[in-house]
């Protein structure tokens, strides 16, 4: 009797993470009765929405065997640019387009360096991470741009539809879309194949260059869009927005069982990874754990999860 190996290893990972999430929730709930309040659950959703949107797309990036460290900087720049356009009095659609265009430019830059010139993704996006962050500072001379008071823009991060935060709806929509793309489309299928063996995929006729360029484009666009969401939530865009978020995002994706080496993973794990890290942060807040300890615990959890994953998938 043959087992569906692919599905099985993914299932173990996702199920393991779900169990861990339940255990975490029960521990926190036993100490603080607020955890399972619907308000608090929506708080978690809102807190992870920005990271989650990027994490969904970063799942594609990592499955394709690529890496994009510039997502945090692209978030910052996307927020700054769109906020500036907003402050100039442009209509919402122009504001949104300006943010998305920022993402496309950043993505094209990354793709040019990595796919065009052939620079290692780690080095290339490390470089653009600094350059873009610098550009965000230069744009406003280090100042924030206020987005507070523009009601339609505020809806992006703070609006509600039938009581559910709009940012959470955007998060869910992004995950459904990315999941569908990875599972049901030629692009998604090619992303897995390229992540598995790029040269073989090219020999077999996959349009490797086109797929790789697309990956960097959508990664940066998602980050810039998340920058607009964050600017909307905070009521201002700051050049420092999203600093370090790339590591939290990649951490959540890895926690969800997507391989850093490419070819393996999916959004079901990523959403659990994102929620788990969000619930952990929320739980530690509810339990009154000091901030310094929270950062420490997050690191330990990530390492523990990766070790556990190795033990399970190897046995």
């Amino acid at each position: 009797m043959q087992v569906r190996e692919l599905a099985r290893s993914r299932l173990i990972n996702v199920a393991g993470l779900a169990v861990a999430l339940v255990i975490l929730a029960l521990i926190v709930q036993s100490q603080s009765p607020f955890f399972f309040k619907s308000n608090n659950l929506l708080n978690i959703g809102r807190a992870v929405a920005v990271t989650g949107v990027i994490a969904a797309v970063t799942t594609i990036v990592l499955i394709g065997g690529e890496l994009d460290l510039s997502i945090g900087a692209a978030l910052g720049l996307g927020g700054i640019v769109s906020a500036t356009v907003l402050a100039s009095g442009a209509p919402l659609i122009v504001v949104l387009l300006s943010g998305i265009l920022t993402g496309l430019v950043v993505g094209a830059l990354n793709a040019g360096l990595i796919v065009g010139i052939g620079i290692n993704p780690l080095i290339a996006t490390l470089g653009t991470m600094f350059a873009l962050r610098g550009a965000a500072y230069i744009w406003t001379n280090g100042a924030s741009v206020v987005t507070f008071g523009y009601e339609d823009f505020a809806f992006l991060g703070n609006g509600r539809i039938a009581g559910i935060p709009f940012s959470v709806i955007l998060l869910a929509a992004t995950f459904l879309l990315v999941g569908a793309v990875l599972t049901w489309t030629r692009f998604g299928s090619n992303v897995y194949a390229i992540g598995g063996d790029r040269d073989a995929s090219r020999l077999a006729g996959v349009q490797v260059t086109r797929v790789r360029v697309s990956i960097y484009l959508i990664s940066a666009v998602a980050a810039a869009f998340a920058g607009m969401m964050l600017a909307s939530v905070n009521g201002s865009a700051d050049p420092t927005s999203g600093t370090g978020i790339e590591l939290a995002v990649i951490g959540a994706v890895i926690l969800g069982g997507t391989a850093l080496t490419g070819g393996r993973g999916g959004v079901a794990g990523t959403i659990l990874g994102v929620i788990f890290l969000g619930a952990l942060a929320n739980g530690m807040n509810l339990l009154g754990l000091p901030g310094y300890w929270q950062i420490f615990v997050q690191g330990v959890v990530l390492i523990a999860a990766v070790i556990l994953d190795r033990l399970v998938t190897r046995s």
């Binding site: 077999a204 996959v206 070819g263």
Partner: protein
């Protein structure tokens, strides 16, 4: 046509109706040099439909380079390639594929993390009809159906065709998948470069019988192999290459001794000729003339 005798009906039933001696691929005056080294030196070659043509030769004889020209992986410096009688330009593997020429590469070109269905359609995925297809939505059910048809038709023994990564299969099973993919897409010819090099005895046998099945379907099969027993058992036609040239083409009396002699270029007759030529060359102060020997039947 009317002059031909009617074929014996009893005999016709025993052999598959192979359209005899129809040319699938042809190369004329193919030449390729890498710097000072001439890998292929003016080769004329014809590959026939329904036949297994083996190309043999020592390392560096030019057999791989010749086959790669038909695969689109090597672009000849000069010479012409014809597919079904039409001159074509094969600049890359995609061009060759478009002409119905499939190649089973030595490293197989399979994605190890994908299953059989996904590999069979790798880079050529089937899309749903209509609007969904235009947005890139896969027709997974149709791909699975055709993959299952193809693997069953070839009698390939694999654990399962979907949900099981190919990287977990044996070398022979992977090879069989690569061959099945080639056979599925080939319309004119299938090229196999050392398909049994990494396989055990039983697995080799399976892959070779696949090659025969594919030729029996009327495709031209080109086989590069240094395993002479396989060549003798399987090939309808053997082309021997040496020093970038075609030195012999055999369709019968393919014996091991004869092949070895042709490959290394030392049968009794040749040896005498060599000695004579070398003596003459030495007399003239030249260093080496064996490589300039002409094609001999």
């Amino acid at each position: 046509m009317t002059m031909l005798p009617t074929p014996d009906p009893g005999l016709a039933g025993t052999r598959p109706p192979v359209p005899s001696r129809e040319i699938a691929l042809e190369g004329r005056g193919l030449r390729k040099a890498y710097g000072p080294i001439t890998a292929v030196d003016g080769v004329d070659i014809r590959i026939y439909k329904g036949e297994i043509t083996a190309i043999v030769g020592d390392n560096g004889a030019g057999k791989s380079t010749t086959v790669k020209m038909f695969a689109g992986a090597v672009v000849p410096d000069s010479g012409q390639i014809l597919v079904d009688g039409r001159p074509v330009s094969l600049r890359n593997p995609q061009d060759a594929r478009r002409e119905g020429i499939e190649t089973v590469f030595q490293d197989l070109a399979l994605a190890p993390n994908r299953d059989v269905v996904q590999n069979l359609f790798l880079g050529r995925e089937l899309l749903r009809p209509g609007l969904l297809g235009r947005t890139g939505v896969l027709d997974r059910r149709e791909m699975r159906r055709r993959a299952s048809e193809q693997t069953e038709a070839l009698g390939i023994d694999i654990p399962r065709i979907s949900g099981y990564p190919i990287g977990k299969m044996s070398g022979g099973q992977r090879q069989a998948v690569a061959v099945a993919r080639g056979a599925y897409w080939a319309r004119s010819a299938m090229l196999m470069d050392e398909p049994t090099a990494a396989l055990g005895l039983r697995e080799s046998r399976k892959v070779l019988s696949l090659a025969r099945q594919i030729a029996d379907r009327g495709l031209a099969v080109v086989l590069i192999s240094h395993i002479l027993p396989h060549v003798m058992e399987l090939a309808d036609r053997v082309i021997v290459m040496r020093h970038g040239q075609k030195v012999a083409e055999l369709t019968e009396d393919i014996s091991s001794d004869r092949l070895v002699a042709l490959i290394v270029g030392v049968d009794a007759h040749d040896a005498a000729a060599d000695a004579e030529a070398e003596e003459a060359a030495e007399a003239q102060g030249a260093t080496h003339t064996t490589e300039s020997r002409r094609t001999r039947r």
